[in-house]
Structure formats: C-alpha cells, structure tokens
Symmetry: D3
Subunit: 340 residues, 6 copies
Amino acid sequence: MDSKKLERLRARYADRGAFDGDDPVLLRAARDVQTGDGRRTLPYSGVPTFLGLPHAPSVDGLDIAVVGVPMDLGVSNRAGARFGPRAVRTIERIGPYHPTFRGVPKGRARAADVGDVPFHSRYDLAHCLRDIEEYYAGLRARGVRPLSVGGDHSITYPILKALGKDAPLGLVHIDAHCDTMGSYDDTKFHHGGPFRLAVLDGVLDPDRTIQIGIRGAANMFWEFSHASGMTVIYMEDFMRMGLDAVIAKAREVVGDEPIYVSVDVDGFDPVFAPGTGTPEAGGLSSREGLALLRGLQGLQIAGADVVEVAPQYDPTTNTSQLAAQILFEEFALMTLGEAG
Amino acid sequence: MDSKKLERLRARYADRGAFDGDDPVLLRAARDVQTGDGRRTLPYSGVPTFLGLPHAPSVDGLDIAVVGVPMDLGVSNRAGARFGPRAVRTIERIGPYHPTFRGVPKGRARAADVGDVPFHSRYDLAHCLRDIEEYYAGLRARGVRPLSVGGDHSITYPILKALGKDAPLGLVHIDAHCDTMGSYDDTKFHHGGPFRLAVLDGVLDPDRTIQIGIRGAANMFWEFSHASGMTVIYMEDFMRMGLDAVIAKAREVVGDEPIYVSVDVDGFDPVFAPGTGTPEAGGLSSREGLALLRGLQGLQIAGADVVEVAPQYDPTTNTSQLAAQILFEEFALMTLGEAG
Amino acid sequence: MDSKKLERLRARYADRGAFDGDDPVLLRAARDVQTGDGRRTLPYSGVPTFLGLPHAPSVDGLDIAVVGVPMDLGVSNRAGARFGPRAVRTIERIGPYHPTFRGVPKGRARAADVGDVPFHSRYDLAHCLRDIEEYYAGLRARGVRPLSVGGDHSITYPILKALGKDAPLGLVHIDAHCDTMGSYDDTKFHHGGPFRLAVLDGVLDPDRTIQIGIRGAANMFWEFSHASGMTVIYMEDFMRMGLDAVIAKAREVVGDEPIYVSVDVDGFDPVFAPGTGTPEAGGLSSREGLALLRGLQGLQIAGADVVEVAPQYDPTTNTSQLAAQILFEEFALMTLGEAG
Amino acid sequence: MDSKKLERLRARYADRGAFDGDDPVLLRAARDVQTGDGRRTLPYSGVPTFLGLPHAPSVDGLDIAVVGVPMDLGVSNRAGARFGPRAVRTIERIGPYHPTFRGVPKGRARAADVGDVPFHSRYDLAHCLRDIEEYYAGLRARGVRPLSVGGDHSITYPILKALGKDAPLGLVHIDAHCDTMGSYDDTKFHHGGPFRLAVLDGVLDPDRTIQIGIRGAANMFWEFSHASGMTVIYMEDFMRMGLDAVIAKAREVVGDEPIYVSVDVDGFDPVFAPGTGTPEAGGLSSREGLALLRGLQGLQIAGADVVEVAPQYDPTTNTSQLAAQILFEEFALMTLGEAG
Amino acid sequence: MDSKKLERLRARYADRGAFDGDDPVLLRAARDVQTGDGRRTLPYSGVPTFLGLPHAPSVDGLDIAVVGVPMDLGVSNRAGARFGPRAVRTIERIGPYHPTFRGVPKGRARAADVGDVPFHSRYDLAHCLRDIEEYYAGLRARGVRPLSVGGDHSITYPILKALGKDAPLGLVHIDAHCDTMGSYDDTKFHHGGPFRLAVLDGVLDPDRTIQIGIRGAANMFWEFSHASGMTVIYMEDFMRMGLDAVIAKAREVVGDEPIYVSVDVDGFDPVFAPGTGTPEAGGLSSREGLALLRGLQGLQIAGADVVEVAPQYDPTTNTSQLAAQILFEEFALMTLGEAG
Amino acid sequence: MDSKKLERLRARYADRGAFDGDDPVLLRAARDVQTGDGRRTLPYSGVPTFLGLPHAPSVDGLDIAVVGVPMDLGVSNRAGARFGPRAVRTIERIGPYHPTFRGVPKGRARAADVGDVPFHSRYDLAHCLRDIEEYYAGLRARGVRPLSVGGDHSITYPILKALGKDAPLGLVHIDAHCDTMGSYDDTKFHHGGPFRLAVLDGVLDPDRTIQIGIRGAANMFWEFSHASGMTVIYMEDFMRMGLDAVIAKAREVVGDEPIYVSVDVDGFDPVFAPGTGTPEAGGLSSREGLALLRGLQGLQIAGADVVEVAPQYDPTTNTSQLAAQILFEEFALMTLGEAG
C-alpha cells in the first residue's frame, strides 16, 4: 500500500463514526438504526420484543404485525413451544439491516410486536385454534399482514383459515414433516395435520404448495400431500437436486399469486435446532435454510411464521437464534422482496 | 366428614371459579389479577416485563418505576450482569398477590416497567455511572420511587447519589461483600466499593447501614465499613444470632427514616444463586433472605434494587427466579409495608 | 488401637465380601440385593425401571404396582411432567435398603414397575383423567396398592376417586400449593384443584387432610382448604413450628385410618427441585422432606405418589433424584412402616 | 385447485384417521405401529427400551437381539459411555417405519431389547471383554444376530471374536480413529485397538475392511490398518471423493460375504455428536453418515453396533438421538436390506 | 452522621487503595496478595492452578504440596472424577485470605501446585493405587505434607498407607458413605472401602476416626466401622445433635495426635454437590460443612483431601467451587490452625 | 486373507506398543510424544496449558510463545471472552501430531505457554490495548513469534501494531464481521474496528488482506474494507466459489510476504461455535475452516490468533475444542508449513 493511499484513507476515515460512506441505501439504513439523540441502543437493553421492534398495544395503523402464539397443545411428543415467543423475543442482534437484500425492513413498513394472541383457555386445543382464527381474521380485516412465532404447528391451520378465506394461498413449507396427517387420539387439530385441514377447507392450494426437508419415520403418513398434488421435496431429493434447483422448483410451484411461508424449525437438522419437540436427524443446515428463504425474493407474501421452538431443549439458544433470523428473513421478504 | 358438611361444601363450591370467598382483600386481589374480558393472562404470554407490570414509555404519573440497569463494567471477575434485567423480566408467575402481607402491590401504586437506563457508551464505567445518576435524579425530581434490577453493584452508588442528595439514606444491604473497598486498577467505581463512595459523598448514613451475609476472602477489605460505623453481620454472626435477632437488629439500626434496600444475589449461597459473578460458598438460603426482607415491613423505603444476576451461569434459572421474587418482595415493602 | 484388636479385625474382616456381619436384617437385605449367580447388578445397566424393580407386564399377583402417569395437560404454566416417569426410572442407586427403617422394602411385598397408564388421547385432559380413574379402579379391584409417578398434579384426583370410593381417605400432602382452586379457563380439572374435587366427590376427608409447605402468590386461592377443614401448614408455620411439631401434627390430623400420600416436588425449594412447572422460592429442603415422610412410619398407606417432575428444567437431575428417593420412601412406608 | 378436486379430496380424506391410503406397505406399517385396542402408544410412555422394542427376558426365539454393553473401562480420555445404553433407550420417536427402505423393520424379524451384557466386575477391562465374548457366543449359538449399543469401542473386539469365529467377517467402520493401535499402559484391550486384535485373531478380514471418517492427531497410530490391507478413507479423502464414491468403494471392499457394521459416534463432527469421549473436529455430518449406512442396503449384516455415546457431554441429547437413529438404520439394514 | 465524622472519613479514606487500614494481619495479607509491580492478578488469568498457587515442577523445599490425583477407576457408578483436579484448578477467587482464621495460608508455608500423580496405566486400579502410594511416600520422605484433590475415594487408601506408615493416623471423614465395605466385583480397592483397608493395614486408627454425614441405602454395608470402633455420625444424628455438638465430638474422638482430613463431596446434599458419582439426597449444607472444618482449628493435620468431584454432572460448577473452598479450608487448617 | 499374511501380521504386530512402524516421521513423532520414563501422559492430568505445551515463566529462548489475552472490554454485546484462554487451556487431546502436514509442531520449535498478558486495569479498554502492544513489542524484540488466544477481537489491533511496526503485514482473517467499523459509543477501540485502526496506523496492508465468512446485519458497516482495498469473501461468495477457489484466492491476495492469521470463532456457524459474543447464523463449518487454514501451508506466518471464545455460552465445550484445534492448526502453519 503506497503512502498516498494511506493518507487518503486517513483523511477520510480517521475521524468517522460507525456509519461511514456515501451509499444512499446504507445511509438510510444507518438513520433507521440510530436513535434520535445519537445514542445507539444496546442489544441487550429494554423490554424484549420480536426483532427489537417497538411494542404496539394495538394493531391499528400497522402494515405488519409480529404476533406470538404461545400454544403447544397440539404436540405429539415434547411440549414446550408455548415458550417459543418469549425465547425468540429475547434474542438480540437480529437485523435491522438485511445483508443480501441491502435494505432495512423496518424502514419500509409500519411494523410492531403486537404481543401474543389471547386465549380463552390454556387447556383446550380446539378452542385455542378458534381464538387464533378470530384474531387473524381481525388482522386481515384491518389490512395488517401477520408474521407469527409459534407455538406448535397446529397454529398455522387457523392462520390460513383467516388469511385464505377469499382465495386459497400458495405455500412454501420448510419442515421435517408434511403435516398432512388425519385424525388420531380423537382429534384432527394436532400439529401433524394443519395443511390437510387447510386444503380440505379450501384455504390452501395444494397445487401451489411445496414442502421441503421432509424425512424420518413419519414419512408413512403423507399420502394426502401426494394425493392432493403438493410438491414434496424429501431430504434425499434435496441432496440430489441441490439448493439452486430446489429454489427454482419452489418459485415454479408457487407462482406469482399470494403465498404463505411456514417454517417449522425441525426442518433443520437437530444440530441446528435442538430446541424443538419432534427432532429428526439429517435435516437442513442453517445456511441452506436461509438461502432457501432468500431465494423467494420478489414473491407475494400474505403472511409467514416460524414454529415449534421449544427453548427447554435449547441450552445454547441456537434454535431461538436461528428462529429469530428466520423471522427476520420473512420480515425482509415481506418488505424488501420487491427490490430483488 | 359428615354428609351435611359435604353438602354445604358442594352447595357453595361446586360451581365457583378460581377466586372464591368473601374476603375483601382477596376479592380485590382477584379483581386486580383478572383482565377485563374475563380472560386470565397466561404466565408465559406477551412481551416480558418486570413482575408482569405494564410497560410504560414514560415515567410521568408513576409512583414506582421498575428500571433495568444493564451495565456490568464494574465487575472484578465474571461479567454477565448486563443481561440481568432481561433474565428477570423473563421469569413468569411472580405475584401479583403477596402471601404474607396479604395484598396486591400493584393495586396500591401506579407502577410500571419503564425499560432500562440509557447509556452513552457501553465501554466507559464512569460515564455509565453518570448516566445512571442523571436518570435517577430525573425520577426523584418527578417523585417516582425506583425499584432497580442490575447490572453489577457499582450501579447502586449513582442511585444513592440521586436519592440521598438532600438527606443521607439508611441502608439494608444483603450481600456476601461489604462493597466498601477503595480504588484499585485505577478506578474507585468498581463493584467492590459503591457504599464507601456513597458515605464519602454524604448520601448514605453509615450509622443507619446494616450489611448482612458477609463472608469469604474479601473480608480483608472491609475496614471502611467498621471505621465508618456500619453494622456488619458476617455469616458466622448470622448463624449464631438467628434470623429473628438479625431482623430486630436491622430495624434497630435503620430506624424510622427513609432507607434504601440493596440485595446482591451473591449474599445467597451459590446453590441458591449460581448465576452471579463472584459467588461465595456458605451464604443465605432463599427462605432466610425472603424472611429477612419481609421483616422490614413498615419501614420507609426510598428505593430498592436487586443486582449481580448473571444468567450465563444460571442453567436452572433459579437465580433469576429468586431475583424476581426479591424484586416482588421489595415492591411489596414499598406498597404494602404500612399494613404491617 | 492395640495390636490384638487389629488382629481380631484382620481375622474377621480381611477376606470378607461386601456384606459382612451377622445382623439378620442386614443379611436378609444382602440376600435381597444379590442376584442369584453372585453377580451384583450394575446401577446403570439394563432397561430402566422405577427403583430398579422388575418390569411386570401384568398387575396380577402384585401387592404394590409402581405406575407411571405421563400426562401434563393440567399444568398452568410450564409443561414437561409428561416426561417425569421416564426421568425417575432413569435414576440409579435408590434403595434397596432403607437406612432408617432398617429393611428392604422389596423383600416385604410383591412389587413391580407395571409401566404407564394407557391413554386414549394425549390431547384431552378430561378423558385422560377418566382413563386414570379406570386404571386405578382396576388396581383396587385386584387388591393392588398403587405407587405413582406423575405427570402433573391433576392426576391425583382420579386416583383418589378410585381409591377412596368406599371410604374417604385421609391425606398427607406436601406441596407449595393447596391445589383446592375452582374452575378457570373453562375447566375444573387443571392441576390447581384436584383436592377440592376429591372432597366434593366424597373420596377425600378434609378433616383428615394436612397440606405442608404452602407458600407464594397462589395463597390467595386456598379458601376451600380452610372452609372444608383441612389443616394447612404454610412455610411460615413450618419454620415457626419446627419439623418435629409438624410431624406430630400430621399424625394427629390423619389418625389411624387409611391415608394417601401425595408429594408435589414443588413443595421443595426450587434449588432442590428446579425441574418442575410452577416453582416457588422458599420451600422445604430435601432433608426436611425426607424426615417428614419418615415421620409417617406406621400409618396405613392406601397409595402414594410423587408428581410434577419436569426433567427439561433439571440440568443436574437433582429433581429426578429427589423424586426417586421420595418414591422409595413412600415404598418403604407401604412395606416397612409397621416395623416403626 | 378446482372445486371438483377439492370435493374428491374431501370425500376421501375428511374423515380418515392418521393412516390413510391403500399402499400395502404403508398399511402393513400402520398395523405394525398400532396397538391392539386402537390406542397409539405415546412416544414418552412406558419402560424405555431400544427403539421402543419389547423387552425380552430371554433371547430364545429371537432373530435379532438388541443388547446394551454398558462398559467404558477401555477409554483413553473421558469416561461415560457406560451410560450409553440408558441414554439411547430413552430416546423417543425413532422408527418404526424406515422412510428410504419403505418398510417396518420390526415387522420383518423377531427382535427385542434383551437388556445388557452381565459383567463379573465393573473394575476389570479384560474380564469384561471375556464376559462380552461369552455372551455373544451364546447369541451366535442360538442363531440370534446382535445389534449392540456401547460402551466404548473396546467392546467390538470380543463381539467380533464371537461372530467371526468360523469365518472372518468384513467390516464397515465409521469412526474418527482406525482403532488399530497396539498396547500401551500395559494393555492391548483399550478402545484404540479392537480391530487390530480382531485381525490378529483371524476373526476380521482386513482386506474386506473399510474405515471411514478418520482424522486427527491419532492418525500417527494407524500403520496396522495400512499394513494389514484395510481401506482407510480419511476425511480429506471423503471430502475429495464425495459421498457416492465412498459408498461405492465400501461396497466394493466388503463384497457379498457377511460383514459387521461398527459406528463410533466420534466419526461424526463433535457438533453432531458432542457426547463422546474423544471428539475430533471436522467429521461427518448426520446427513452423510445416515446416507452412508443406507448405501449399504442389500449387504449381509452379521451384526452391528453403535458405540462411544457418553451422555454426560450431551446437553441437547443430540448424540443419543443420532445414535438411536443409527441403531435404527442398522436394524433396517439387517431386516429390510434385501428389499433394496 | 455528623459532618465531622464525614470529614474524618474523607480525610482518611478518600484517596486510599483497596487495602486500607493499619491492622497488621490485614497489611501482611495485602502484601501477600499483591504482586511485586503493584498489579493485582486477574482472577481469570494465567495457567490455572489449585488455589492460584504457583506451579512447582518439583516438591523439593515445599512445606505443603497440593497434588491432583486424576483417577476414578474405583467408582461403583458414575465415572468422571478423573477430571476433578482440572475442574478444581479452574475455579477462581478462592482465598488467599481466610476470613475466620484471619490470615493468609500461603504466607505461612511454602506451598505449590505440584501437578498430578503420574500413573503407569489408566486402566489398572490396583496399579494406580501403588503409583499413588509410591508418590506420597516420596512426599513424606521429603517432609512435605500433602493436600490432595481426587479422583475417587479409593485414592485415600494409598495416601494413608504412605502417611500412616510409622504411626496410625486419626481421621475426620465427611462423606455420605463410611467407605468401609469389603470386596466385591473381585476387588477390595474400589471407592467403597479405603478406610477398612487402611485400618486392616494398621495405618488408620479406628478409635480416632469419626465419619460424618452418613446416609442412604449403602448404610447396610458399614458393619466394619462399628466393629472397629469408629464413631459414625449419621445424618439423623447430625440433625439431632446440632453442629456444635458434632464439632465437639470430632475433637474429642481424634484428640491431639496427627490426623488426616478426608472430604468426599457427596457428604454434602446433591444440591450443593451435584457433580459427583454417587449422590445421596439429604446431606450437609455448604455452611455446615465449612463450619465443621473450621471447627477443627488447632488440630495436627498430617494431610487432607477433597475427592469425588465429577464436573460432568456439575453444570453450575457449584461442586467444583465448593471443593475449591474446602481445599482452601484444609490448607488454612494446615497453616493457620495453630492461631485458633 | 490368507493364513500367511495373518502370520506375517502376527509376527510383526502381536507384541508391539502403540507406536509401531518404521516411518521416520512417525517415529520421531512418537518420540516427541512419549515422556522420558515410558509413561504416556494422561490427557486430563496436570496443570492445563495451551495444547499441552510446557508452561514457561519467561519468553526468553522461545521461538513461539502461546499467549492468553483475557480481555473482553471491547465487546458490543455478550461479554465472556475474558475466560477464553482458560477454556482453551482446559481442552485435552489436541495434537501433538498434525495429520495433514505429517509432523509434530512442538518438535520443530521451542514453544511454550507463557501465561497471559498482564494488565494494569481490568476496567480500561484503551489501557489494556496499550498493555497488549507493549507486551507484544517485547516478544518481537526478542524474536519470539506470538500465537494468541483472546479475549475479544479488539486485542488484534495492538498485536498488529507491535508485529507490523517495521513493515505492514498481510492478513488472512476468518470472521463473520470485517471489523473495520469506525468509532461509536465514544471509542474506536471496540471489537468491531481493529483492522481499520491497523490499516490507518500503517501496520496492516489492506491490499494483502482477505476477510472470509462475512455475513449478517453488520454488513452495512464494512465500507472501509472495500475502500481500502481488502478482499472480502462474503458467505454467499464462499458458497458460490467453493473452498478450493477461496484458498487459491487467499494465497493470491496475501502473497509471499509475512502475514498474520486471525480467526474469530464467530466466523463459524453458531452451531459449531455457540460460545461467542456476537453469533451470526449461516457460517463456516469446522471442516471448511480447518481446510482453509491447512490451505495456507507454506506461507510466512508472523503471528496468529483465535479470539472471541466465550465459554459461558458453550455448554458442550464444542467452541473451545474447535478453538484449540484452530490454535493447533496455526501452530502447525508456523512450524510445519514449509514442509508443504
């Protein structure tokens, strides 16, 4: 490095603050990040909210509501996802800038952490699902798009019922399980069947549905996925096709109409997401999952969720951190996607 | 049990809800607990706040502000207490009813979680202490009593500076260490010396100060406590005197004037509070500590804190749970104490 | 020590095996412990069963059945006790000799681990309770006394319904909560109310019921305990009375008729039992709890349980170990009690 | 989706249970899974056994015996694998359906968890190995194929001695270490040498042996592997060749004669298997390891094991879960392999 | 506080460093603590050694050698104590000042961490014990008193053989188990029998031996303790007698002749010492144990140890911290005891 | 395998020790490993040092000094890296043989663990950096190359100032963050900016600097890297280019002049390195990172470090194990690199 260059660098950079440069996107990002009085907020300070967004007592006036759904009565094995929203709220340092889409989602939409869905009873799965549907119908009536943190996967059925009421949605679904099983234990509302119920209710379009990461002994239960016309990408398919081909396939399947994005953290290998109720060895890596989501840029997202985070099984908090990052990717897709 | 009694019980209790009875205190407590629409709030739902209190963006109009002070630049050994406020907020099921004082603190005062003290720099201990002092001076100017969650114990010095400005306060101090050490490592602001600084600044009255639970190798540093006239209850004293005598001594020392209550969780045995930076074997049990605090009922509390919760060292969350309970006890002392 | 004594010791002890001595009780204990071929079983080998007892596919011919009840749909906060039976089975080195009663319980009764109560649905609390009642009615019909591992405390109501059908039982109940609350969240079957239901069904005699270790904010809910005539020993009472007086009181209350013993691990301080769903600071120590149970020697025990072990919150396994020890104490009371 | 399709789906699927479809393999799988009375077994209920298989007091009449070998006296560093069998038994939700081979292993063979090898002494490595050899000789004499869970890797030597007595076996060996070291610390029986001993005893054919995943500082010890003609796939080789080529190489090396499959969990990266005694950074992923095993379909498996699970170092239970899945893959190879 | 006093305090204390005061003991302590160049050593810096003592390559010239004995081949259940020395070395902030004896042990004796006993084989229990005996015989020949960190309790037998060669020692023994069992599993060298062997070898005087904290199912094995004349304080005795009476009894039993002090961390309740191989519910608290040791002040200590620390079971490091504190208490007894 | 071959194998190998073979490299390695008296050192014995190297009180006469830098005052989020050196020292079984370079680093250089950099104050970031610079200037003056274990990444700036004083160094930098940010919170010395400061001070040549693994929201801050001419390999680049191309690029960028190697463990995915302060999902795998480092063989290494290990967040110790392996790779590059 010649001395002139060093001088130039010194002249320009020796006394600048954290946000240097003239890139207008970054400048705006910097402004979005900084608080009014010049103080940067500590990552670990204040009342914890999803993605560090403001907490809003009401959803009125919002474009996007980030909602917790602390309900896990639908699990078949290990409970705990009722604590998922708390765990994801507590993760620090996610966003606000999106490195691939080069933008700050919260600068593009009025978004807030609106708290959790209120429930009439912590003891009644079917009633909880009704409470959820009613809540999301309210969001939809106000034109607010939801971004949700479960809770177990049974919550996605009432969400789809609310969002797909007028026209069935497409779906990009990352999971170890297709979740299209029928009734057992005297209920159809368990976390193994939401997408079957959604199809049968006409709120989810199986032809525009792709399920990615599927594996494990439960594979014996997914006849409905195939019978209804869903596209199922088993892990063997994933490994054979490669990431780029899977992304292309997903875009081809869901098309340009509105879709929902649903991520069950057990789609990831248990090493990346131990904190969940029904782990299956041999799943996606965090790198693959994040790239998959980023590959959806430009699609119309009616809503999205990340579910099945059970922090009791997550001593490193890796699962919650990954879930928070996924939430941020979904937030970015809903706000910056068009820039793609 | 004769059948008539059974009939009477059935007649009265068979169809009642969770809150039965005619006791006016309990009825009011029940009302305080219930939300407006008859739904009980789930312990694990919503944005986590201290003691489940509402989050207030401003301190105006409050009687009591519960404040987080996420700063641990004053520690001598293990850092981590900067995450103390987050950890204590996340604990569920503390209060709202106080079983010994038979009342609901939040029914007696306008209280809220007002977030955390804002800092200019996460890298400068002395500056952080100035930020804290300024913040608490603001609370005091508005007539708001503070209830604080640290952070390391260095935070109590600027709090006392703000609260004791006009008249030095008395102090009930539970800790393994007297924290009256002088300078070392080129600073006097470390967490081993706040109470020395407060005395030398004239905001803490050593004659009305009692320090309880003291033990360990650091005992060689506490000359100032004795020289200034503080009452020091070493653990050997505690074991010899017994709980009731210690409570009586504390009340005798601090008298009827306003006091501050400061609880360092390392006053408890590491078994009860592993999540802290400078644990010392052989400390108080949770039962003893809670009884000690309850024994202060009726005293004038100008403010209180619980400090040195480092959740990184707390795999069971026992430390955070105990700290949250202590916070609730302090809240109760500040609201229900007069009922004693 | 003179040389003659040393010679005598050498002569007698130099070549003996682990079980020396002529004490007939110990000799029988040794025989009970040893396997037929001279091999001692490793504590960590084999299919894990409760207390290392044989696993029995059928309850026929048993005196005592140790039963798992992996159901936690009744919890109000943290789920997880559905994994309690697995966790307690996995603990090694409990028994077989009882050091205070000086005997080997399994030498005095035909006892086995009979597996877990079968459930029709993991999603329906009320149905689960019916399944439990039916199962225990079957045990009772065969003259088999049950020793149960929960599961949450809601399971004790159907157990009492089965066991107290002909004559209401007395109860020694260790817990942080009286569990005599009424309905909320549209159900009366939650884990906060089993003993109220049992009284109202006439299967539990409140006059012969003592509840020990009660504390915390939920104290506002226990009117029924007092109204129905139960004896409630709050933690303050316990600390004031002392252990011996509490034991005497318990024996006085329950008298000589058959009783049930129910231990919720949250009766212990969270330090001793972090692995539970609704911890309350300031509870019993393990030493106190075990002494309490041993103090019941000689009473008629119709059945007993230990409940609310949630191993997800128990990184040291201390909770499961304590629960396994409690289970053994209860087993000892049911077999060696008469020797007291 | 047109409305006719929706109607057809509703007609067929609206009222079906968990197991729909006409696929005869799946129907049989469903029958294998369901218990007689229509109740599905909870994943977390009952006495824990390997893969949820029945516990058999005797090996008579079995095709396959799943055996625990809780012995870790052969480790060179961190002990703990003596608790491996207990840990693997405790994992829920592995199988019963194999998603790639499309079948239910336990439907194809009489298989049971037969408990653990009994040992004369927990203190004598050489004696333990004799006990193991004797036990497996008994299995072999009865025509029962063993599937074993260690224990440390020293256990594989006596197993091979028993199984390869008449004709040396081939071997597929996944591990970070070749385990063909000579004597040190006055013994040749440590866990670093079983395959050397087996070759020198003529029970293992080095020409039909492949070792996969080898890496780390211990690489200096593996001359015997090369000298004896084993095929060693170091991790660099693995990364360069790719998964498919490694599978092809393995099949080529071992040929069509009977082989043994031995999986040391330290063959996997410590991230996938932290719970082991001698972790080595840079190993296989779970996806690669499972695919490797599935690639062996159709080979003749005389026996198989998974070893070196030390649950003390496995706070997420990821290691035990992976080991249980490997056990299931081996079980599938021994029963469904021919269907490939 | 009047203003004059405040002025006096300010005059004297405003500018002093951490070590103020004129107390000659404290001044000397301060000098002992400070490093030459005025820098205080960080608690967490440098190569970890026992109690922060210097590491000595040779024992020559030492008064006291702190020795690690990383051997756990004698355990009957959970291994892991081989990592005990590493775990205890890693604990920071123990000493250097002793708060009760008011002195700095390392100022009174040439003491160092001399590393660990070298072993010929990590696989041979009997050989390891010979290695230990030889090593301690060497210490004794050089007049160096040993302070040891186990390892399992089997190590104390060879230590006593070396130290008690000329005259049998007395013993203060804190433990859940008497460790006077005979042979089983073909060895007498297991961790359940060191004190029997020591008596039979004439190196331990049973009449001058007291065993404190005994409890649990293993109580059936302690005939030898009683037969040989040891004083056994069962936990029930301890609770009945109280701490002061137990200390008095211990002093009476061991008298003025040289004694050995041996502390098995399982003497403490598993809550205080979860990190151990054979935990027993219902043991000593840290407060009681430390007071017990301090009660031995003035006795002649020929050597001391703390054993059975298994850090794999100690997620909070509470066990290691307690063990380090015990080590420090023993060090203080060996150096400052005479000041009592 | 024919019988002759078996005989030959037996003849040669039946009675050999752990180190067989005639390979001169391995023979020398074996000699380097063995201690003088034929005893192999246990992995878990003795005072823990970096890579098991001898502890040297002085740096005189060394070629390479392995230094701990326990300072984390520069972190922006989670503290804890002050305990990094202790954690890395405690890892057992790293080296001494390097499997890819086929040699024993410690046989090629006089190397030792020289303890930690002494600091004047644990409370003053800027002063700590001056202490570090002074210490490393001393090493450089003595011709000792440093190999360092942080501490947070702010420590690399003063190290570079000392090492690059005469001629700016090249840099291979593995990290999630470029660490070329300007001032914030009133300081430029935080862990987000060391490489900017080093360039502006003329001790680091940006044209010979490559930064690999960059990702996450902080990407908005790295203008300086681009402006100064550094080569930045974002994770997307890494995934697109593949490992071999990245290695080639790195070699091309840094050329043949002396370079520094700096590895922040957060360059790895949080799954591989959870124990760090600012984790970012989607990073390198351990396999990739180790291969990257090995790809630098033959380059001139003036010094190297591994930083940001925060063991409080590392329940499996995977992070510390990976860091210790990285340290060993760096040690190998500095000693065996020329053999490439």
